[in-house]
Amino acid sequence: MSTISTADFSKGMFIVFKNEPHQIVEFQHVNPGKGSAFVRTRLKALKTGKVQEFTYKAGDSVEELPIETHEMQYLYPDGDSFMFMDNFTYDQVGVPENFIGDFTKYLKASDTYQVLLHEGEAVGIRFPKKVRLKVTEADEGSRGNTVSGATKTVVVETGAKVTVPLFIKEGETIAVDPETGSYVERAQ
């Protein structure tokens, strides 16, 4: 374990909070006046998935958790978890749904993802900036929702719905930003 300062915080980082492993879901600097600064965080407990807020003094020391990243293939959903297989060891691990969040909508079987492990337990996956998804349902004849601009909603191979420009056709592949769920570009 290594000691870091609040200045090293980044979104998605894993730290020890009140003796328990947590992930930094969000953080922001706050300055209530008179020179001193604080860092407000939202922390997710790895064991329970419970999210809570905590405000650190800027400069407070925090223990960072050692996290390993393994390339793994996504297999199938299993109850509240999603099963992955290590590309090198062939070990299988389940990643609890609350560590994947909305990204579950974009998981594609047999695609490779970077799974984050802490002491052998899966604690999340590193989301790519863009995911490539094939459009499986698109209403060709639709003039789209002209009130809200030249867009329409299509269904992609994972079942997720995405709002796209009118020119996107069924069978095409598009890139989607998994963080916002929004269309980025037509992918080749």
Binding site: Q28, V30, P32, K34, S36, F38
Partner: protein, 358 residues
């Protein structure tokens, strides 16, 4: 997407942005009816007041021969308004842009923001508490919230003239609002006796016993603020507005000390829906104390390595001539509009938010 593109794509968003013009008009009519002067205070200034907790924007003023002089963007209209009160203007307000650097990137701040600041002669902070209630209710009662047109963006939240919905909470705005002193709030929410907490030794011991990490270099004010931010602030103004008043002197240096208990100063903060909307003082009128305070603040600015400047000595001179007894408050207008449009992010109520620059 830029905001103008979002608006072009989704015209239903307009109602959220257009609420601003109605709020601005109604703020003006409120102060008009009460006989206040509206003042245009400068945004470009030579000498900011000394405030170590703010970062100023520095720029360069050139004369006709292109000789440079440092200039700054104003962090608030406070000193300009106070000088005018020394000159005899009487009750006055400014509704203007102010600038605070390094405040980009979170949901509650935009480095360029709209501020409403008003001062009432002969008033104390209790008068301003009442005036805040009057102002907010005036806005709710006179702005027509267009329910139908607003629906697509979850707006039109003034359910009636005294109830707002904000972030899935109902806020009852019927006056009088909750008034709780900082001391009471620490007792109630953090179970901390602020009188016991008042020395650095006790503050350290109490913070450690509550599970906070405490380093030797941590100042009293840091320990106080960490407990305040973690244990007190999340409870303020949730289902009705909260006026949090009487701050320890160490965190209210520009406010007048209470005569009944000089360890506390006459300052209050207004919270509605978890948003800190305003900060009020019974103003310090003692020029010597103000100068001492400014000198101390400048040392702090240098220690922190922030943009340094020559502070406004003309303001000290004005105080020496004599600021009438008065009280005033600064209100964040963008946050007020967030509240009235049920917006979580300040960028959602700005047509040109800072994110579009970065």
């Amino acid at each position: 997407m830029k905001t103008w593109q979002k608006l072009k794509n989704n015209p239903a968003l307009w109602s959220r942005y257009l609420l601003r013009e109605r709020v601005i008009k109604k703020i003006r009519s409120f102060f008009d009816e009460r006989g206040f002067h509206e003042v245009e205070t400068p945004m470009l200034i030579r000498h900011p007041p000394a405030e170590s907790y703010l970062d100023v924007f520095e720029t360069v003023l050139l004369d006709r021969h292109r000789n440079p002089t440092k200039a700054y963007l104003s962090t608030s209209p406070e000193v300009a308004l106070k000088k005018l009160m020394v000159a005899g203007m009487g009750n006055c307000y400014s509704l203007t842009k102010s600038f605070r650097n390094t405040e980009a990137g979170d949901r509650l701040h935009n480095p360029e923001f709209t501020i409403l600041e008003w001062y009432r002669v002969g008033a104390t902070y209790t008068d301003i508490m009442k005036e805040c209630e009057d102002l907010i209710l005036h806005l709710l009662n006179t702005i027509s919230f267009d329910h139908d047109k607003a629906k697509p963006c979850r707006q039109g939240l003034a359910l009636n003239s005294q109830t707002l919905s904000y972030r899935d909470n109902y806020i009852n705005l019927a006056p009088p609002w909750e008034r709780i002193s900082v001391k009471e709030a620490f007792q109630k929410y953090a179970r901390v006796d602020l009188e016991e907490f008042s020395t650095i030794q006790n503050a350290r011991r109490i913070a450690v016993s509550m599970g906070y990490s405490v380093a030797n270099e941590n100042a009293w004010e840091e320990l106080y603020n960490q407990i305040f931010l973690n244990e007190v602030e999340p409870h303020l103004g949730i289902n009705r507005p909260t006026i949090l008043y009487d701050f320890p002197v160490a965190v209210a240096a520009l406010a007048k000390k209470k005569e009944s208990d000089p360890r506390f100063a006459e300052r209050f903060e207004l919270y509605i829906g978890g948003l800190e909307l305003g900060d009020c003082y019974t103003e310090l009128t003692d020029w010597k104390e103000q100068k001492t305070r400014f000198d101390k603040e400048m040392k702090e600015i240098q220690r922190l390595g922030k943009t340094s400047y020559y502070y406004d000595h003309d303001f000290i001179e004005a105080l020496r001539v004599g600021l009438p007894e008065c009280s005033g408050i600064a209100v964040g207008v963008d946050r007020l509009i967030m509240l009235l449009t049920d917006s979580v992010n300040v960028a959602d109520v700005l047509l040109f938010p800072i994110e579009e620059l970065l």
